[in-house]
């Protein structure tokens, strides 16, 4: 979402096609298409250790649900935005080709491969990620040390790390109270098809009531006994946010969106799109997950 939105926007406007369906796709897929790898989304990273799966094992089990969800989104988007997409596209003005950032892409590819390869040797993925980041940072620092050091520190977004840490403490407090008991009673013990669906739906609802980060922190310990249920939680918290405007009804957010502007946002389209895609994606994703678990013999 962070990287892709500007690229998609530039491509759509450059080709003189309507940007709307493509930007909506960016916002949706930032959530729902982030199922594949433990590093695809912070939610996955938070639940990865609890799942007890290896990096490759996680990706293997999530590949099928990921394809099912992305495919469902694609089909429903084609339908929902049929008018916008059917509008005739004309010859676009020529764009000068840009050279791909080869160095960054190679390091990125090597880091991803490193995740899967280093784990059987007992190297935690965090070290591989740190290695990749160091290589990328070193090259920039070598060019202009002072400027780049400042930008790297800002990019590391340390306040956000503190925020997630604080969030973990708050959620722990909430979980040990009555709310935790209530949610705990709703979580099924076993990962049959209905159990998986129930957990995914619960996670999706929670992700919309609070936000998907707290929802993940809240649910993961309750399902840690079953890798299948952990993955079902991730399906819910990653697909669910597309249901309401932004996956969070947090007052802060609505204040920012509704009152900082002089007119209400076009939330109608987003909500209708969410109502169309989220249930379908959850069903398709859970079915695919169940199939994958059955085939691999994981519970």
């Amino acid at each position: 979402m962070v990287l892709l939105t500007p690229v998609v926007l530039a491509t759509a406007t450059g080709m003189r096609v309507r940007a709307k369906p493509h930007l909506y796709a960016c916002t949706h897929l930032a959530n729902s298409a982030s199922l594949l790898l433990p590093v695809s989304n912070l939610t996955n990273l938070l639940a990865f250790t609890a799942s007890g799966l290896t990096f490759a094992g996680f990706a293997g089990l999530m590949a099928l649900p990921w394809l099912a969800v992305v495919g469902t989104e694609y089909l429903l988007f084609r339908r929902f935005f049929a008018d916008d997409l059917a509008a005739a596209a004309h010859r676009a003005p020529a764009v000068e080709p840009v050279r791909a950032p080869r160095f960054a892409l190679v390091v990125l590819g090597a880091t991803l491969a490193g995740f899967a390869l280093a784990e059987p040797l007992g190297v935690h993925p965090a070290w591989v990620a740190a290695g990749g980041a160091l290589v990328l940072a070193a090259r920039r620092l070598a060019r202009r040390p002072l400027d780049e050091a400042g930008r790297l520190v800002r990019a590391a977004n340390l306040p956000f790390c503190a925020f997630v840490f604080g969030l973990g403490v708050v959620v722990l407090a909430v979980r040990s109270g009555g709310v935790g008991d209530l949610v705990g009673r709703l979580v099924p013990d076993r990962g049959g098809p209905l159990g998986l669906l129930a957990v995914a739906v619960l996670a999706a609802v929670l992700a919309n009531v609070v936000n998907n980060l707290p929802a993940t922190l809240m649910l993961t310990p309750l399902v840690a006994h079953s890798p299948g249920l952990v993955l079902a939680v991730l399906l819910g918290v990653n697909v669910g946010p597309n249901l309401t405007y932004v996956g969070s009804l947090a007052t802060l957010l609505w204040r920012q969106i509704l009152h900082a502007r002089d007119h209400p946002p076009a939330a109608g389209d987003f909500l209708r799109l969410g109502a169309l895609t989220v249930p379908a994606c959850l069903l398709a994703g859970v079915a695919a997950l169940w199939l994958g678990l059955r085939v691999s013999g994981t519970t």
Partner: protein, 159 residues
């Protein structure tokens, strides 16, 4: 007479061409940036609770603004004579109707299914503008009109 040409991403060439063939009149090229889209992107970034870098909404607005200017440039060049340019932002269909208050004619293109004759050839925004336009309207196909044989058959009870 003031002729408003609604410049859209899909059908602007056909509209400009139609306006060029009209004799006389003062041409106004109008394009509207849909702010709803900008807000969805900004809202989705806010939902990431700081996982994204700040300043997403303004960047999207700037990009759409630049695209608007480029599209109006291209439209003016295609028109081949000086024209007034209006770039608005807001709800597209309402901005277009509002911009036609003192117009004598609005030129707009169908923006839906362009392969078959029928109501699906109009998207919701275009249909709203057609229904509410306060002036005469010239509705063009964005490319070659579909063949007559794409006309759906009459309903069976009314031969």
């Amino acid at each position: 007479m003031k002729i408003v040409v609604w410049v859209t991403e899909g059908g602007w060439e056909a509209c400009v061409d139609a306006a060029r063939e009209l004799a006389g009149g003062q041409v106004v090229l109008l394009h509207v940036v849909d702010t709803g889209t900008v807000e969805v992107v900004a809202g989705a970034r806010a939902g990431l609770l700081g996982r994204a870098m700040p300043a997403g909404g303004p960047a999207v607005e700037a990009a759409l603004g630049a695209a608007q200017a480029a599209l109006l440039d291209a439209a003016e060049a295609r028109l081949g004579r000086p024209a007034e340019r209006i770039g608005r932002r807001g709800r597209v269909e309402r901005e277009v109707v509002a911009a036609c208050g003192d117009a004598g004619l609005l030129v707009l293109a169908r923006d839906g299914d362009h392969l078959r004759l029928g109501p699906r050839s109009l998207g919701p925004a275009t249909r709203f503008v057609l229904d509410h336009a306060p002036c005469r309207v010239l509705l063009v196909w964005p490319d070659e009109p579909p063949d007559l044989d794409t006309l759906p058959p009459p309903p069976p009870d009314r031969p």
